[in-house]
């Protein structure tokens, strides 16, 4: 609830491990707010009021004394706009681990390579790791942002419309990376792009005006939705 306005109400979702959970819905349906609650970036919003529980391995992360920094290390986030820090590619990837006390150069090098491989970026940047990350193209920057989360060895990755500003080829690369990643990570993907959700999600949730309308396997939501509003949305009648 921001000020007097409800942005989400009475949501109950069980998000399965090692799968991609897609969240779709028109703008203002509360998707991003939900995502930001999951790693408590909502703490940055003054006067926000959140009631309920978010259980990660059975522990409520919304409890006030929960260690937010450790939570965010476990639950990574990729934003809609690719935001590389104004540093080298290498420093972008090692920034998080370093701040969490990883100092060993060998371990850092290893994490850089592994995370870039996993984000399908390694071949494109391996010769210029120490150049500014701002020189990369938009699609490369977004894969760098995914790699930055992976370098934290997080368990959950939240993606907030990660391909909204990208061309189809870059989008395809990111989708490929996500498909490969899901065996080791729990992925939650928010997207306006219904087709993208249909392509890569294992479970789909449909949000409308802060309500969870329907949640289930993509086949069900896309071919045989139980709610009229879901049907209207996936068939492009609104949104």
């Amino acid at each position: 609830m921001y000020g007097q306005e409800f942005s989400l109400q009475s949501i109950s979702l069980a998000i399965p491990k090692s799968q991609i959970t897609g969240i779709m819905g028109p703008s203002n349906s509360g998707k991003t707010t939900l995502l930001r609650i999951l790693n408590r970036l909502t703490d940055l919003i003054p006067d926000i009021l959140i009631r309920g529980q978010v259980l990660l391995d059975g522990v409520d992360i919304l409890m006030p004394h929960y260690n937010v920094n450790l939570l965010r290390a476990r639950v990574g986030m990729v934003f809609a706009k690719p935001i590389p820090l104004p540093r080298s590619i290498y420093e972008n990837l090692t920034f998080g681990p370093r701040m969490h006390g990883v100092k060993d150069r060998r371990i850092l090098d290893e994490r850089v390579e592994q995370s870039l491989q996993a984000a399908i970026l390694w071949d494109e940047v391996k010769d210029r790791l120490f150049e500014s990350a701002l020189k990369l193209s938009g699609g490369q920057q977004q894969r760098l942002c995914i790699a930055r989360t992976l370098a934290m060895q997080s368990e959950v990755i939240l993606l907030d419309e990660p391909t909204s500003g990208l061309d189809p080829i870059s989008t395809a690369k990111i989708e490929e990376a996500l498909r490969n990643l899901k065996k080791d990570y729990t992925i939650i993907l928010v997207s306006n792009n219904t087709k993208q959700i249909a392509r890569i999600s294992d479970r789909v949730a449909f949000f409308l005006m802060g309500d969870l309308i329907e949640y289930g396997p993509p086949d069900m939501l896309f071919t045989n939705p139980s709610d009229k509003r879901t049907e209207d949305y996936v068939s492009g009648r609104f949104g």
């Binding site: 790693n39 940055l44 920094n69 965010r72 934003f79 820090l85 998080g96 930055r148």
Partner: protein, 279 residues
């Protein structure tokens, strides 16, 4: 009413603005060239490397250069952490409200206080009450009060200009607030902060009234910060005001102008370097 031909009126406006801009630059160049013509002939290695003799009628200006450096050093030593700390508090740790408004109003009022009043304050507090007498320490502390508003405002502006997204990225990587500020926000804001600090130095180099009140005007080579000292600007003022030696006064003025030029250019270069490093 007759309307002017738009092309013609454009031309008139353009010429007028050009003349205005030209005169501004012209005044600047006139001052600099005048000072250099009068002052540069006085300059020599001996002028820079020896102490003033006979009230400054002969000898050099070494003691005044050293006093100037001391004074700026002391002022920055106190004003930088205070100013930067205030700016960080105002931008990162509070929400806009009554308290920030009061603090901002306070710093802006500080900026508006005539320097001679600050000098009187420094005299009453540091020179008399603290018993430090006319000393570089008293002068430096008073000067730091003068620099604070500039440092606070420029730091605040550069911190605010750091994209909010950088903070979100750092937070989303589980980096705490203080580390986010020191490792992400401040490096990105550094060019602006450094420029603000360096330009505040340029301003304080030219101060006289405040310095005379608080640091005195002793011509001896200062051996500690508890001794009185005379800065370049004060030296110039006394040489010219008392009619001691106009050639020496112009020589001092030339050094002062050169110093300010060097400070401004180095501020610009540092900013360029830092912007490259962090972008």
């Amino acid at each position: 009413m007759m309307r002017l031909n738009p092309i013609l009126s454009q031309k008139i406006i353009k010429t007028l603005l050009w003349i205005l801009t030209g005169s501004t630059i012209g005044i600047l160049f006139f001052i600099i060239i005048y000072i250099f013509i009068k002052g540069l002939p006085q300059l020599s290695w001996t002028f820079l490397s020896t102490n003033p003799v006979d009230m400054g009628r002969s000898g050099g200006i070494l003691a005044t250069i050293v006093s100037t450096v001391y004074l700026i050093g002391i002022a920055l030593f106190f004003a930088t952490p205070l100013g930067l700390g205030t700016a960080i508090y105002l931008t990162e740790y509070t929400r806009e409200g009554l308290i920030t408004k009061i603090i901002r109003f306070g710093t802006e009022s500080l900026a508006g206080i005539p320097s001679i009043i600050l000098g009187l304050f420094g005299f009453a507090i540091f020179v008399i009450a603290f018993g430090w007498g006319w000393s570089l320490l008293s002068g430096g502390l008073t000067l730091s009060a003068m620099l604070l508003p500039t440092i606070i405002r420029t730091s605040e502006e550069s911190i605010l200009s750091v994209p909010q997204e950088y903070r979100e990225v750092a937070f989303s990587l589980g980096v705490g607030k203080w580390k986010t500020i020191t490792r992400v926000v401040l490096p990105a804001a550094l060019p602006g902060i450094v420029t603000g600090i360096v330009l505040s130095i340029a301003r304080s180099v030219g101060e006289t009234a405040v310095i005379i009140f608080t640091a005195g005007s002793s011509l001896r080579f200062p051996s500690s910060i508890f001794e009185s000292g005379r800065t370049l600007a004060v030296h110039f003022y006394i040489l010219a005001r008392e009619g001691i030696s106009m050639p020496m006064a112009y020589g001092t003025a030339a050094i002062l102008v050169l110093l300010i030029l060097i400070i401004n250019i180095s501020a610009y270069m540092t900013m360029r370097f830092l912007m490259k490093r962090y972008s």
